[in-house]
């Protein structure tokens, strides 16, 4: 720890895309898994000083919606936007002719859109709307002609500017061509990481001026959650792990500099399983939260009532249900998942136009995936859920589908 006050520590780090680093690797997980197995063989699971004060027979309850929403982290997008602005400042103040645009690339659900829109808000930045599907398929250059020619503008979702079909790439190629012609002012272009991987293969080239938000490691993720969670009616939640009682989060002003090993083990697992993606981490966190009504326990196991606090129990990793792609999900289901990731979500009709499958087969696949909670319909578009994303990514990568590098 560097001694800096916790509230002032900068959580958002911006780096070029090729410097993005996912927290921890599977090798570490294998090593820990082996150690865990050896520990079990040696004589059962050791119960350390953080043993759970909960009655093992007691059923924990899911949180009610209102309390659940308050227990979820809400990042400070304003502060994140300011950090991004600081990173962009040299480029904004001294535009380079060979760098007319910066591409902000990030994985799904990592907060890219919220961050970019918050950055643009309150600044002299024109936000460009994406084209319609008809404009994309028609290669309608009129959409480009209506853009601002000078000044700074933002296109938050490049993944909504193309369709993976024979005629669906013309418009985005024309956009990139005009962008690098230097005749369209200065641009910040946001792009989903899966779409970015696809577009670099089909004609985008490999633009060198890119930026992304660095993956959140265990320490920064814990602080992000701590700062982003607010209490209900003035009470500040305390989060404890259900199986060993470890304090995962307390009120920020009460937090110790050095976190106990058991607590940090949870945050490391969360950072690793979510690949440092705060949206995915929040989805796992949401599923893990439980409550025991009306009571709280102190560290010595005695029942206490701490004024102004509220304890929420967090299911351990071993007991938490993880997402998985169903065994019966065949080729069509995988095509559906891949298409949804490439395009940042699609409606059913558009899915049928970009896939070599009948709409009924696609509908069946969507039903199977929705039942497994891997996809959801939102705003008329199907998309991969944050909770399902790790399993979907693993399944597609193992089957050699084109994937991102995040």
């Amino acid at each position: 720890m560097n001694g800096e006050p916790l509230e002032q520590r900068e959580l958002w780090q911006f780096v070029p895309v090729n410097e993005y680093a996912v927290p921890e690797t599977g090798v570490d997980r294998v090593r820990k898994g082996l150690l865990s197995v050896l520990g079990s063989l040696a004589g059962g699971r050791a119960r350390g000083k953080g043993s759970s004060p909960l009655d093992p027979e007691q059923s924990l309850l899911r949180l009610q919606d209102e309390r659940l929403e308050l227990a979820l982290p809400k990042p400070d997008w304003k502060r994140a936007g300011e950090s991004l602005h600081e990173w962009l400042r040299p480029w904004l103040e001294s535009p380079a002719p060979d760098k007319p645009a910066v591409f902000f690339v990030a994985p799904p659900d990592s907060g890219r859109e919220e961050l970019l829109l918050r950055w643009a808000s309150g600044r002299d930045v024109a936000v460009v709307e994406e084209p319609t599907d008809e404009q994309i398929l028609g290669g309608d250059a009129g959409w480009l002609d209506s853009w601002p020619r000078e000044g700074l503008w933002l296109l938050p979702r490049l993944e909504r500017c193309f369709l993976r079909s024979t005629e669906g790439l013309d418009l985005v190629r024309e956009l990139i061509r005009r962008l690098f012609s230097g005749k369209m002012g200065q641009a910040v272009v946001g792009c989903d990481s899966w779409a970015w991987s696809f577009l670099t293969h089909v004609g985008l080239g490999r633009p060198s001026f890119t930026v992304t938000a660095q993956a959140f490691d265990a320490d920064r993720m814990r602080l992000l959650f701590a700062r982003g969670i607010r209490g209900h009616g003035g009470t500040i939640p305390t989060f404890r792990q259900a199986d060993n009682g470890a304090y995962l989060l307390r009120a920020v002003e009460d937090e110790d500099e050095a976190q106990p090993g058991e607590a940090m083990a949870y945050w490391r697992r969360l950072a690793e399983c979510s690949r440092g993606n705060i949206g995915v981490a929040a989805a796992y966190w949401r599923r893990a939260l439980r409550t025991v009504p009306e009571r709280d326990f102190g560290e010595d196991g005695a029942e206490t009532r701490r004024p102004g606090t509220d304890t929420i129990w967090v299911t351990s990793w071993d007991d938490l249900e993880r997402s998985a792609v169903p065994a019966e999900a065949g080729e069509t289901a995988r095509f559906v998942l891949h298409a949804l990731l490439l395009h940042g979500g699609l409606d059913s009709e558009r899915l049928a136009s970009v896939l070599p499958a009948h709409s009924s087969a696609i509908g069946q696949a969507l039903g199977c995936l929705a039942e497994a909670q891997l996809v959801e319909a939102r705003g008329g578009r199907w998309r991969v859920t944050p909770w399902g994303y790790p399993a979907v990514r693993t399944a597609l990568c193992s089957d050699d589908y084109l994937s991102d590098s995040f």
Binding site: E167, G168, H201, V202, F335, L355, D400
Partner: protein
């Protein structure tokens, strides 16, 4: 001494032979063979692309190892191991095999050589004398191929020894697919080539790690365009070619380019 008596002297007395141990060796070898032939391919099909091919390639090698090991262990318990006895036994076998089952043995030897040289292995798509299909298993005597219309074709290894074998993927997931299009010469070639390349790039089956190529050549009755691209998995080759063909034809039609064929060329008018 009669040759038959000489051969019988090679073997142990009946009382010296541990029948139970021999039965156990045969039983163990049988169990291992079943695991190798049935469970290992099933496991391999659950594995991701490249790993699947490596595991499938091990199946015949493991089978050969089990059979050879079991045969040696049984033989050592049946015969008195001395140089003189081994010479006599192999001499007898050589004469007998040379006349009675030479073709069978030739196939076995060819199969063993194939394991070493790997001109084909399970998971490969090969073409042999007009038969195209996936190698499902390498048996002792023959290779089992399943064609696209689900026909099992059994080809003795001996036959393949002096036959040209076309191996489409050679132990990997990289299998090039080709889709052909025939158009009349009066068109914008660069534009059509670019559009056909987009057809390949936007296929859900395409493996973008290997960039698709579009080539063209003149034929007596038109221009032939070929998309050469790789699907993610060899099993998808037919669906991939279908997808390329359907969307390629649609793209050509939308460009207003006319299709060509020998019959059309003979009539002297576009389709």
């Amino acid at each position: 001494m009669e040759p038959a008596e000489e051969i019988l002297r090679v073997f142990r007395e009946f009382g010296e032979i541990n029948v139970v141990r021999i039965a156990l060796i045969i039983a163990a070898a049988t169990v291992l063979l079943v695991i190798d032939q049935r469970l290992l391919p099933r496991l391999a099909r659950k594995l991701p692309g490249k790993l699947r091919f490596h595991v499938l390639a091990l199946v015949p090698l493991i089978r050969l190892t089990i059979i050879v090991a079991a045969a040696v262990l049984v033989l050592l318990r049946l015969i008195k191991p001395s140089v003189q006895n081994m010479v006599a036994l192999f001499g007898f076998l050589g004469v007998g095999l040379g006349f009675a089952v030479k073709d069978y043995v030739a196939s076995i030897v060819a199969g063993t050589v194939a394991l070493y040289e790997t001109p084909y292995r399970p998971g490969d798509w090969i073409r042999v004398e007009g038969v195209y299909g996936e190698v499902k298993s390498l048996e002792f005597r023959a290779v089992h191929i399943v064609t696209p219309d689900d026909t099992l074709v059994i080809i003795p290894h001996k036959k393949l020894w002096d036959t040209v074998i076309h191996n489409a993927n050679n132990g990997s997931s990289k299998l090039q697919c080709v889709a052909d299009f025939y158009v009349t010469p009066d068109h914008d070639g660069a534009r059509l080539r670019s559009r056909l390349r987009d057809v390949a790039l936007t296929s859900p089956y395409v493996q973008l790690a290997h960039e698709p190529k579009v080539v063209s050549e003149a034929t007596p009755w038109g221009t032939r365009y070929r998309i050469r691209a790789y699907p993610m998995d060899p099993d998808q080759q037919f669906a991939f070619i279908t997808d390329l063909t359907e969307r390629g034809n649609a793209a050509i039609a939308r460009l207003g380019v006319c299709f060509a064929s020998p019959a059309v060329a003979a009539r002297g008018e576009p389709e």
